[in-house]
């Protein structure tokens, strides 16, 4: 970094761009160099261990996206290793079909792994965490039993010979180099996903599922893509594993291995690539350097798992993350920048108004909303006030699709707005914030904001996997837009900070920035002023006014009557789920029933 940070031109700011999961690069290069230098030791045994480490990492790299990024507790991943190992071995041995060359067999194994990766993962789309963990364990048991029983193909308990790779990969060192190269490619591929909008969406699904939905992230679609990738990598690791073992039996695929893969990710820490890589290396080497421990390896892994979860939930990644140590400036002030808002929102076509007609929704016997009519006009701020339990937030949740009303209709202009479907709202440019900020604590503020633009992503998963130019261009645009949004709400200085280190008031503005990322036609704010100081409320008011003046229709749920009467063009008052009054702030302020029911004398 140069010393002129304070006046750094925008180009320099872009050069300091968000730290990808491969930054800094030197630890990865160092590990690779150690692996490549192994032949110099002349010790073939350590060569084999390094090879095994590289193979395990191929699997863990994919699993890391599922466990570390998406937070899905897939424990029985040894099943996919076994599927890959047997597919490769059987195809290369030719005891079912004519024998295939080893590389072709490896490729087919990758395809099989992709399919079974989805099969193993499907329950995650519908079931709760413990259920999913259980089904992956069950799957691992079943696969082992099938390999035992299907003797004609797998050789049953006697086993089957692993495939031989052609020269020059048929020696210890040749095979080591092949596996290292393959592992390096896998590292690069998964890092590409991790730093793309797909990686951010995975973390969002893990830590802030509701906000992810509101940002238009489709969890099942996203997870299936990642299951395909992780399954293919795991199965190819299996093929290499069979080559390394030279001979495989069902005994080779014990639950211990599953545990090793899973714990490697957890030791490494969530949302990191270097951490799980180190975790894999440590867990592979540990039983080797402490030979008496070999029989106790499961015990050791289990104890490690317990200690990590209880004592250092962040894993290795938290220890090596420099963002944890850097102090944030004290006495920071949130200073929204209207100019940035201009640049971000610009001049747009004024959309049609958002209308609600006769919305009814009951929870059990309680009519939470009972025939609410509402019209949010573009370019205006519409206040929604009322006592606690009057149905304000429920109305917001109906608009953003979390609740399906029992009666009534919603529309934007002439086009009806379908009930339910929260993931579809971002595509319709309806953005929102939440009463309790929903954030991804471990991600940077910038990344949190970039989540908001996910629905605008045009490049596909494959493009992200290979980091093709069009995808990198799109990422740069996302980042620029997110920086503008942060500047607009006044948090530009905190873009690189971890979100969980921010103060409550800053989180409220960060949520607005995330919503602005969408360049929303309608913005739904759920008590944005709660917990803010008087000065901050004043700035918030100016910001909301500014947003509405760029053509966005704002629906503001709030308890601060002063803020409402200051900035709203229209106010609707709810009481017991019904509209008590609607009109301009001046009319509402003197409305008799409102004053007695809510505002007080």
């Amino acid at each position: 970094m140069d010393a002129t940070t304070g006046t750094a031109p925008p180009r320099a700011a872009a050069a300091a761009r968000l730290a990808g999961p491969l930054r800094p690069l030197w630890p990865f290069l160092l590990l690779l160099a150690i692996g490549l230098a192994m032949p110099l030791t002349g010790n073939e045994y350590w060569g084999l261990i390094t090879t095994r480490m590289a193979i395990y990492w191929v699997l863990v790299a994919g699993l890391n996206l599922i466990v570390g990024y998406a937070g899905q507790l897939a424990i029985g991943y040894v099943a996919l290793l076994a599927i890959g190992a047997y597919t490769t071995s059987v195809l290369a041995a030719g005891n079912v079909l004519p024998p295939l060359p080893a590389f072709a067999a490896l490729g087919v194994a990758g395809l099989a792994g992709a399919v079974f990766g989805v099969v193993v993962g499907l329950p995650a789309l519908r079931l709760r965490t413990f259920y999913f963990a259980m089904t992956t364990l069950g799957f691992a048991t079943i696969v082992t039993q099938i390999t035992l029983a299907w003797q004609d193909v797998t050789g049953g308990g006697i086993g089957i010979a692993g495939p031989m790779l052609p020269a020059p990969f048929d020696t210890t060192w040749g095979f080591l180099y092949f596996c290292l190269g393959f592992a390096a490619i896998c590292t690069w591929l998964t890092a590409n996903i991790a730093r793309s909008r797909f990686g951010r969406a995975l973390v969002a699904v893990r830590d802030a599922e509701v906000a992810a939905e509101a940002s238009g992230i489709h969890k099942p679609k996203l997870l299936v893509l990642v299951f395909i990738l992780a399954g293919a990598l795991a199965a190819m690791a299996g093929g290499l594993f069979a080559t390394l073992q030279t001979y495989i039996t069902p005994d080779a695929f014990t639950f211990d291995l599953s545990l090793l893969f899973f714990i490697a990710v957890l030791i490494g820490g969530r949302g990191s690539i270097l951490g799980p890589l180190l975790g894999t290396a440590i867990l592979t080497v540990l039983p080797e350097i402490a030979a008496p421990l070999a029989a106790w390896s499961t015990f050791l892994y289990a104890a490690l798992l317990l200690v990590i979860v209880l004592a250092m939930p962040g894993g290795i990644a938290a220890l090596i993350d420099p963002r944890n140590r850097r102090n944030l400036p004290e006495n920071r002030v949130i200073g929204p920048q209207p100019a940035a808002l201009d640049a971000l929102l610009g001049r747009r076509e004024v959309p049609a108004p958002l209308t609600l007609r006769g919305i009814v929704l009951a929870f059990g016997g309680v009519r939470a909303i009972d025939g609410v009519d509402l019209e949010v006009t573009p370019g205006q701020v519409h206040g929604l006030i009322g006592p606690n339990g009057s149905g304000k937030t429920t109305t917001l949740n109906v608009i953003s699709g979390y609740y399906r009303p029992e009666a009534g209709s919603m529309a934007i202009g002439p086009a009806p707005l379908p009930a339910g479907k929260p993931q579809g709202r971002a595509g319709l440019r309806i953005a929102r914030t939440f009463q309790t900020p929903r954030l991804i604590g471990e991600a940077s503020v910038l990344e949190n904001v970039m989540i908001g633009g996910t629905t605008d992503g045009r490049t596909g998963f494959a493009e992200a996997l290979l980091a093709l130019p069009r995808q990198r261009q799109e990422e740069r645009e996302f980042e620029a837009r997110a920086r503008l949004a942060l500047e607009a709400v006044g948090l530009a200085g905190l873009a690189e900070a971890r979100a969980d280190r921010l103060q409550h008031s800053e989180l409220r503005f960060m949520e607005i920035a995330r919503a602005l990322m969408l360049r929303p036609a309608f913005l739904l704010l759920d008590e944005p002023a709660a917990g803010l100081s008087t000065e901050e409320i004043r700035r918030l008011g100016a910001l909301i006014r500014g947003i509405s003046r760029h053509g966005t229709g704002v629906l503001l749920v709030e308890h601060h009557a002063d803020l409402i009467f200051d900035i709203c063009d229209q106010v609707t008052v709810l009481n017991l789920g019904k509209v008590l009054a609607a009109g301009t702030p001046a009319e509402i302020r003197v409305h008799k029933e409102v004053v007695s029911a809510y505002l007080g004398a």
Partner: protein, 285 residues
């Protein structure tokens, strides 16, 4: 032959149901599904064999000691793996901590006891053929346990306190119920129930460390099918599973019967994630 399928089906079904109740008992007071449930069942068999055959104790003291040991392990589980992660229940860390404790138990047993199945003694020496005690004993114990739990939950103050905690943790605490002590007590109770399952089914399953994960999985299925926290659902689900499994065992052979059970389990769960008698998920927004 049909009779022997039914006899063995009901017997293993009863063991699965008891493990299911073990899950439910822990879940009720803590909202935690614990991987240790199956291990407690396994330990029931191992401790039973240890106290009777290796140490030569009579049946009754051996049973009492087995129950006490497993109850203690239940309490240790609560302290080590459950209490520390209750604050952040939504992060599902308990899946990891209880899995770790379960593996510690399992591996410890493998190293210190035996990696081979060990014999379990005949307890009462009653009956033969399909009326052998190894078939009807688990069923009888399952029925007695259910009756005992019903009595506990409906007729005793402590039992009602359990129900109150299970129903609404916050309200129960606000009423001044000693939530933590009740939770510990429920983990001790769960340990004893799991031990009972292993002890009663010892002659069928033997004293074998690898029964842990097996019981864990097959004991979870009735819970998943019957709905979390629903003991009656667990009993019905357990017996159905036992009968289905033994029938499949007989018709298509052991390995494909576990494939059949697993496939059916996944399909039913995907169709009805809440189970047959379960409650709807909570609101999220």
């Amino acid at each position: 032959m049909l009779a022997s399928i039914i006899a063995s089906g009901l017997a293993v079904g009863a063991v699965y149901a008891l493990i299911g109740i073990t899950y439910n008992t822990m879940f009720a007071t803590s909202r935690v599904m614990s991987f240790t449930a199956g291990q407690l069942g396994m330990l029931g068999g191992v401790f039973g064999s240890l106290f009777t055959l290796r140490l030569g104790l009579p049946i009754l003291p051996a049973l009492v000691l087995t129950l006490a040991c497993c109850a203690l392990i239940g309490v240790v589980t609560e302290i080590v793996a459950v209490r520390p992660v209750l604050k952040s229940l939504d992060q599902h860390l308990y899946v990891l901590t209880t899995l770790a404790v379960a593996l510690l138990i399992q591996h410890m047993t493998a190293m210190e006891w035996s990696t081979e199945p060990q014999p379990f003694p005949r307890l009462l020496d009653l009956g033969s053929g399909i009326w052998d005690e190894k078939y009807w004993l688990p069923v009888a114990v399952c029925i007695l346990t259910i009756l005992g739990l019903e009595y506990l939950y409906r007729r005793t103050l402590v039992g009602r306190a359990f129900v109150a905690i299970a129903e609404d943790n916050f309200a129960a605490r606000a009423l001044g119920l000693p939530e933590r002590n009740l939770r510990i007590a429920s983990y001790a109770l769960a340990g004893a129930i799991g031990a009972l399952a292993g002890f009663a089914g010892g002659q069928l399953l033997l004293a074998f460390f690898a029964n842990g994960p097996l019981l864990n999985f097959y004991g979870f299925i009735p819970v998943a099918l019957g709905g979390l926290g629903n003991n009656r659902g667990a009993v019905i689900g357990g017996f159905l599973l036992g009968l289905f499994q033994q029938a499949a065992n007989f018709l298509v052979g052991g390995i494909f019967s576990s494939v059949a059970v697993f496939t059916l389990f996944i399909i039913v769960l995907l169709a009805a994630p809440q189970g047959m008698f379960g409650a709807q998920a909570a609101r999220r927004v």
